[in-house]
Amino acid sequence: MKRKVSSAVFVAYLTACFSLLVIAPASAYIDPGSGSIIFQAVVGGAMAIGLTVKVFWRRITTFFSRKRS
């Protein structure tokens, strides 16, 4: 179930794989905060979709498991 749910997360994963191929060592004296803030703005949409799909999927499975019982 979880695998199907994370399809949106998977899209973000593919994007991440292809868009950021080279990693440069971070300079120790520069605050890495900026990258984390920009990164959240980038993956935010996928995170929102991921959660929506998950909640939706959970409702479906709960509905059917209730029906069955």
Binding site: Y13, A16, A26, P32, Q40, G44, G45, A48
Partner: protein, 484 residues
């Protein structure tokens, strides 16, 4: 100003922790007033306290705050033993991570958000991870990303992934990097297969690249404001939780034989050893026990049964993990299992080496247990017995120690691979060495073995000093008499 400010409490302008007449207090500065009021009025404080996710506290009388020019003075519940992420087992760090995410999730429900996600803000109280920094919350701003996202990944996700998917011993890296493991370093060390896990690919690998790429951009939260919905925020927390939950480490796979409790004792010897330890514990009634070399914590439970809070140290991450899982499943909340190498114990780290305390600074314990341990230090670690004694006297006021002599199978194994240079490693040598730092209260043979169980009382600091001064004087005289 009265009270001693704690050396770890200096970064946050919202307030600080200080000790006054043996009581730990937290000052809330006026600048933090709006957030503190929101914490209470939003119901978040009550929700977190009830869920045992936030340390309990009471507010001191208003005139006390006024006298200090503070908004409030809080008196938090005392933490029985302050421990650090590099001392926690895998399961303990994982539970601390999940607790932090639950706190953040509850905060979002109440219109607030965590501005710190430091593992040092979590402590174990009654066996459960709780947030101790009451001043970590700020009002949630619509559309703003999580300011503590990077810190959460560095303090929790990166070390857990490294421990689970590369090597459990990498937990010690947290000791080297006090603000968490840099994500580019973690990404480089993790095996390639971690890229196939979407959550790890996103939160560690891609996140690390984004950090390196934008390192010098100077982007503020406001610049991306509106581009990170509350739904996205909740999705991020949910995804992080999934990532943390998916990381596992089972000590049974690799370490199970190593930490097996069976010490080649006969049943009779084992029962007798337990009885001796219990007798000493009941006679001395310590409140705080440090079980040094506790293995999976069998004897720590004896101490706990006599009413002591017991910190259960071992060098082996597998044994500590087994101990921790047992603590969680049995709910024996007065045992705290921690990883510690006695030959290289937790040092003082951070600013001025004082932010995180050494092991000795967090003592002394009322009583130390050192069972089946001394041969590992004296023969395995080449530490002379007088120095072992001196260190034990520093760590605890009383000592229950088992002497394991040559001829014991465990010692013979240690000696089989090295030259026996340990002439003083005899019962007499042991008593002579420990007699300098301790007064020997009782000595009993452990039946069916060649071992001896001792109860000792540390000589007071003054008399220890005197003894060492006398020794120095004696040496001086001896040296003098050698001269022609």
């Amino acid at each position: 100003m009265h009270g001693r400010r704690l050396p770890a409490s200096f970064r946050d302008p919202s307030g600080f922790v200080f000790e006054e007449d043996g009581v730990l207090k937290r000052q809330v500065n006026s600048s933090y007033r709006p957030s503190y009021d929101l914490l209470a009025s939003s119901g978040l404080l009550a929700a977190l306290t009830e869920a045992r996710l936030l340390v309990d506290h009471r507010e001191a009388a208003p005139d006390e705050a006024e006298a200090r020019g503070a908004y409030k003075i809080l008196v938090p519940e005392r933490i029985p033993f302050v421990s650090y992420p590099y001392e926690w087992s895998f399961g303990a760090l994982k539970d601390a991570a999940l607790a932090t995410l639950r706190v953040q999730s509850t905060a979002l429900d109440h219109g607030m958000s965590l501005r710190d996600a430091s593992a040092y803000n979590v402590q174990f109280v009654h066996g459960l991870p709780v947030l101790i920094d009451t001043l970590s919350f700020e009002a949630y701003e619509d559309g703003a990303p999580w300011i503590a996202y990077s810190q959460f990944c560095r303090h929790f996700l990166a070390p857990l992934a490294l421990m689970s998917m590369r090597d459990i011993r990498l937990g010690a890296m947290s000791r080297l990097f006090i603000d968490g493991i840099p994500l580019d370093l973690a990404a480089g060390l993790l095996p390639g297969r971690t890229r196939l896990r979407p959550a790890l690919q996103i939160h560690l690998h891609a996140h690390a690249k984004s950090q390196s790429r934008h390192a010098s951009r100077g982007v503020a939260r406001n610049d991306v404001k509106g581009r990170f919905s509350l739904k996205a925020f909740r999705g991020l927390i949910d995804s992080l939780e999934g990532a943390i939950r998916s990381l596992e480490w089972d000590p049974a796979g690799t370490w199970v034989d190593y930490y097996a409790e069976a010490e080649h004792y006969s049943e009779e010897a084992f029962v007798a050893k337990q009885r001796l330890v219990r007798t000493h514990l009941e006679a001395t009634r310590p409140r705080v026990v440090w079980d040094l070399g506790a293995n999976t914590g069998l004897f720590s439970r004896l101490a706990q049964e006599t009413g002591a809070f017991t910190v259960s140290f071992d060098i082996d991450p597998g044994a500590v993990e087994a101990n921790y899982q047992r603590m969680r499943s049995e709910g024996d909340t007065s045992v705290l299992p921690l990883v510690l190498d006695l030959t290289n114990p937790s040092p003082g780290i951070g600013w001025a080496n004082r932010e995180r305390a050494t092991i000795a600074e967090r003592g002394p314990a009322d009583l130390c247990l050192a069972l089946a341990l001394v041969h590992h230090l004296a023969i395995g670690g080449n530490v002379p017995l007088p120095q072992v004694a001196e260190e034990f006297a520093r760590l605890g006021n009383m000592l229950v120690i088992e002497f394991v002599p040559k001829g014991d199978p465990k010692v013979d194994v240690l000696l089989s691979s090295r030259e026996d240079i340990f002439d003083d490693y005899t019962r007499e040598g042991f008593e002579r060495a420990f007699g300098e730092s301790f007064e020997i209260v009782a000595a009993d043979d452990v039946p069916e073995t060649k071992r001896t169980m001792y109860l000792m009382r540390a000589r007071s600091q003054g008399s220890t000093l005197e003894a060492s001064e006398q020794r120095d004087e004696q040496r001086e005289n001896e040296r003098g008499s050698d001269e022609p």
